[in-house]
């Protein structure tokens, strides 16, 4: 099993369109279509001009720490056991049936970068705070995508493949399981906190389970 790997990633490649999506721009299909097709349009030009530079700078100046570790898995009738923790529910059963192990993934914005959101609010610049909030949300998601890709490449060369990743709060996979991720990924050592409602701080911290399957014959 792969030991806990921790990396601080500095990357500036989060596609800006994803941040715009998070800021609800996806709700205007013309806007997105206009942007993607490189066509003009007043709305696109105005909105894009206002926020593109702000977003690019924020993406460049913030850092994300990633965590991942592989653990074996045992599937029982009503429960899935990972590292002596029991998980119940339909989602975990459905996603993990047949898996031989799971990767436990995590990504968190560095606390110093996260605090900037609050600082901006305190300074009365909520507009910028909201944009930074969206940037950091996308950054941790992108970091998770990146480590999933990395893990996938690693697994494929050992003839194993991944299923679909899922997180606490998806379907019936309870938020209470956040405690498991907190311990396994040793979040405490890196200044990440968890409260009695299982909310992680910095809030821009994401975790996920990624089931690993052996290869079968191609059809």
């Amino acid at each position: 099993m792969k030991a806990l790997t921790i990396k601080t990633l500095v990357f500036s490649e989060v596609p800006i369109i994803r941040v715009f999506h998070r800021l609800n721009y996806r709700k205007n299909p013309d806007f997105i279509k206009g942007k993607n097709s490189d066509e003009g349009g007043e709305l696109k030009a105005k909105v894009w001009a206002r926020y593109e530079s702000m977003i690019t700078q924020m993406v460049k100046e913030t850092r994300v720490r990633t965590f991942y570790q592989e653990k074996s898995i045992e599937i029982k009738k009503h429960e899935v056991i990972i590292n002596e923790y029991g998980f119940t529910g339909r989602l975990v059963q459905a996603r993990c049936v047949g898996a031989e192990s799971v990767f436990i993934l995590g990504a968190s914005v560095l606390p110093g970068d996260f605090i900037q959101i609050q600082k901006l609010q305190d300074e009365g610049d909520i507009e910028k705070a909201v944009v930074l909030d969206a940037v950091l949300s996308e950054k941790v998601e992108f970091a998770l995508d990146f480590i999933e890709k990395e893990v996938t490449i690693e697994l494929n060369r050992t003839g194993r493949y991944i299923g679909r990743r899922f997180s606490c709060g998806y379907g019936d996979f309870s938020l209470n399981y956040q405690q498991f991720f907190y311990e396994i990924l040793e979040f405490e050592k890196y200044g990440i906190k968890i409260n009695d409602k299982n909310i992680l701080f910095p809030e821009k911290t994401v975790t996920a389970l990624l089931p690993v399957f052996p290869a079968g014959e191609s059809k």
């Binding site: 030991a3 938020l175 299982n198 059809k219």
Partner: protein, 814 residues
């Protein structure tokens, strides 16, 4: 042992192996360990797998060294054994392959870290990591190096450069593209091909992530531009999880059916990735009745420049337009840009980049040379910023070879160097660098003696520079010849010599040409007319690129018109588009807006609508001075403005940050007006309490709600986050609140809302309790007996207005 591998002159398709991982697992490799260590401990297993592949027809097998770099081996505490592990594993594969007269490729995978300008790791650090592994593979005697499954073009560039320094054998770089046809960091196959082949890769590949069908489509898009052999290693279709096993949708027979299609598209090396087995390779081998490699016709006289995310094709061929190199990022004569660069800022530079792109630039010229700054540092900062900010390829414009070299190294694309000339000293410095980084370059037909007076002199300089390029092994198609325009006012014969240079380079040498237009009109009035006219003439002479200011509308119109007239705009599509689009009316700029005549009230309204905070207080002050009552300003101008913003938000015309920018502008205005409103006895109306419930730390959404409620005249007390029900209630009573607005973002904390509602109900208070937050729904609000639910801040204002219109039964805390 088989002959030395020569990829380019090989006349047959070379079959590669399939997946090693799939086979290792089948043969009992336990999960979670290092495959490299497992292969060292079980040499018989890897020998058996590779023997099966050779038996199936593979002519090249890959060494099991994909993760044998120091970053990956560190996970197993083996980072100090990189050389030993690679050498031993390579020897195993070499022994198997050479005993049957086949080849073994040293396999190099990604490191899993980001490199500058995308990450923290430096170029030299990357070079060291890859060199260590590749040197070991090379010294073991591998027949070629395959750098594969790369997801980031910058890492692929570094790995290739390391391989070129550390290995003498051929080097192939293979990228992996997802279902959108992009790498994880957003590069498309043509961009990767262009960058890597110009950097000196001996082959370019696509492997993993996609099945043969998807990969075939990608190959069709790039094969006409490939000067080097193409390698394909698709997965056995797409993976499906079925009964606890990952199965690939494609069996050997179906997989092999794609072999002929790949051959027809000019693929030279063919194998399989995830899910493929010796059976897939055997069927592929048997299915390919004719293995003769088909050489695809390559497009002539085309030069490709790439940013990490986009490739621009430059040609004087009729089907493509003249490309515009935006010239504005140059501090000469631009006080604003000079001041910024001196202060170490890049905001103006980025604005220039954006404006030029929106007005038709295809490439950005970057010149940051000026007194008082360190040019190299500023150039690197600009390149780093623009490689993320802009998708246009860069033209690096500097007199300093070391500045150009540093930029070429850092930029994860293929640059155009501006420029080289016949000056021997500069040629000696620049040509090796141009070759090393695969850059395209502009040749100025001048030398130590200056610009030749006549056409023949220019021709001689050009021939000398091209000969020097050939001596350095630089393909002449990487050159772009500058027509070198001189001031028509001082050199009446100059324009003709320039046109002759363009025509000669384009038609006789088959090279691309470029022209810096503005010199031609120097010293004369009406420069834009002269520049535009000369552009039309140069276009007819075969010009490929123009260095110009795309913000000059006349020039751009003449460019589009010329393209129609010389047949470089099929169906006059682009011309019609330009003539009918709004953009043709005037150059789009973000900094100099033409102001319409508007009243002061209109300006205040507009500032709120546009969310422009900086001038709102000054405008309101002016309104008050003019004698406008504060109440009228708020009720007749500002509230209608913020309501219009709300309407635009509702109609999806405005989005969250714009809504907030407008609300903040309104708030700034309200801060100034509140004392006047109190004097006029028009102070705000009802008071509300806002809180994020106990245990929940999210409050940015609540802040937006507070802002909009204040904008609409409500007094708001924001208790902050993680507030318990007793505090909320006590504060509501103390402040005589009319409503309590609660926020929660998590299902676990949402339950706290019920406690607040219950407390309010138990006390029989007539306070309205409303809810919001990502996980809350109308149904939940109804279930716990809340008075209302709002999905966003705009709806919350409407809800409060509606609820407070009717008095709620119960004790009024007021």
């Amino acid at each position: 042992m088989k002959n030395k591998l020569d990829l380019s002159s090989n006349k047959k398709i070379i079959l590669l192996d399939g997946s090693t991982g799939t086979m290792l697992q089948k043969m009992g490799m336990p999960s979670g360990g290092s495959p490299e260590v497992y292969c060292l401990e079980h040499p018989e297993i890897i020998r058996k797998i590779q023997a099966e592949y050779l038996e199936s027809g593979s002519e090249i097998i890959y060494t099991p060294t994909f993760g044998a770099n120091r970053i990956k081996l560190r996970d197993y505490g083996l980072e100090k054994q990189v050389a030993d592990i690679n050498q031993r594993l390579a020897e195993l594969s070499l022994e198997t392959a050479h005993s049957q007269g086949r080849w073994a490729a040293g396999n190099v995978g990604p490191t899993g870290i980001f490199y500058q300008p995308y990450g923290e790791a430096g170029w030299d650090q990357g070079l060291e990591i890859f060199s260590e592994q590749i040197r070991a593979l090379d010294s073991a005697g591998v027949d070629l190096i395959v750098i594969e499954t790369q997801i980031d073009i910058q890492e692929a560039r570094i790995a290739l450069m390391a391989a070129k320094q550390a290995a003498a054998c051929p080097i192939i770089v293979s990228m992996t593209f997802d279902e959108t046809g992009k790498t994880l960091t957003g590069s498309d196959p043509l961009t990767c091909l262009n960058i890597l082949q110009s950097l000196g890769a001996d082959g370019f590949g696509l492997n993993c992530s996609a099945g043969p069908r998807q990969m075939l489509e990608m190959v069709k898009k790039i094969n006409a531009y490939a000067r080097i052999p193409i390698l394909i290693k698709p997965n056995a279709g797409l993976p499906i999880v079925e009964k606890g096993e990952t199965r690939f949708s494609m069996g050997p027979e179906e997989f092999s059916e794609y072999g002929e299609a790949f051959r027809e598209e000019g693929v030279s090396l063919l194998g399989g990735c995830c899910g493929t087995t010796p059976r897939h390779i055997r069927d592929l081998n048997q299915g390919l009745k004719d293995k003769t490699r088909i050489k695809k016709l390559r497009k002539k006289n085309e030069l490709l420049l790439s940013s990490p995310r986009k490739t621009v094709i430059i040609t004087s061929n009729p089907e493509k337009p003249i490309r515009v190199v935006g010239e504005r990022i140059n501090p000469t004569g631009k006080a604003e840009l000079q001041a910024e660069l001196k202060a170490g800022k890049l905001d103006v530079l980025k604005t220039y980049a954006k404006e030029q792109k929106e007005n038709g630039a295809d490439i950005l010229d970057i010149n940051v040379g000026m007194p008082g700054i360190k040019e190299k540092d500023t150039m690197l900062k600009a390149v780093s910023e623009l490689s993320v900010f802009s998708e246009l390829p860069l033209c690096i414009d500097s007199n300093q070879p070391e500045v150009i070299e540093a930029a070429a190294r850092l930029y994860p694309g293929r640059i155009l160097v501006n420029s080289i000339s016949g000056e021997a000293e500069k040629l000696a410095k620049l040509l090796p660098m141009i070759r090393q980084y695969g850059a395209a370059f502009i040749i100025l037909p001048l030398d130590e003696r200056g610009i030749p007076d006549d056409w023949e002199g220019r021709q001689k300089v050009l021939e000398r520079v091209l000969a020097a390029c050939e001596q350095h092994g630089i393909p002449r198609e990487n050159a772009v010849v500058d027509g070198l325009a001189l001031a028509a006012s001082a050199n009446p014969a100059g324009p003709n010599i320039t046109l002759r240079t363009i025509s000669y380079a384009s038609r006789e040498l088959g090279l691309n040409t470029i022209l810096g237009l503005s010199n031609i009109s120097f010293g004369l009035p009406g420069r834009e007319f002269l520049n535009s006219a000369f552009l039309a003439m140069a276009a007819a002479a075969g010009l490929s690129l123009v260095i110009a200011n795309p913000m000059e509308a006349l020039l751009m119109k003449i460019k589009h018109s010329s393209e129609v007239l010389i047949g470089r705009d099929e169906g006059a599509r682009e011309f019609i588009n330009q003539c009918t689009s709004q953009g043709s009316q005037k150059a789009r700029t973000h900094r100099h807006k033409i102001k319409a005549e508007v009243s002061l009230e209109g300006e205040i309204y507009e500032k709120i609508l546009q969310g422009e905070k900086t001038q709102i207080q000054a405008l309101i002050q002016a309104g008050l001075k003019k004698g406008l009552p504060a109440y009228n300003l708020v009720q007749k101008i500002m509230i209608p403005a913020i309501q219009a913003v709300g309407d635009k938000y509702d109609q999806r015309e405005y989005f969250l940050p714009q809504l907030i920018a407008s609300a903040e502008t309104m708030e700034k205005g309200m801060q100034l007006l509140t004392p006047y409103l109190n004097q006029e006895n028009q102070g705000s109306r009802d008071l509300g309490i806002l809180a994020t419930v106990k245990g929940d730390v999210h409050d940015i959404g609540k802040k937006i709600v507070g802002l909009l409620l204040r904008n609409n005249g409500y007094k708001i007390i924001d208790l902050g986050k993680s507030v318990d029900e007793n505090t909320i209630l006590a504060q509501a009573i103390e402040y005589k609140a009319k409503f309590i607005a609660l926020s929660a973002l998590m299902t676990t904390t949402m339950l706290e809302m019920e406690k607040v509602v219950s407390l309010v109900r138990c006390r029989g208070l007539g306070i309205q309790v409303i809810l919001g937050g990502a996980v809350v729904t109308q149904q939940y609000a109804d279930e716990i007996g809340a008075d209302g639910y709002a999905p966003d801040a705009v709806k919350c204002v409407e809800l409060v207005k509606r609820l407070l219109q009717k008095k709620k039964p119960g004790i009024d805390p007021a």
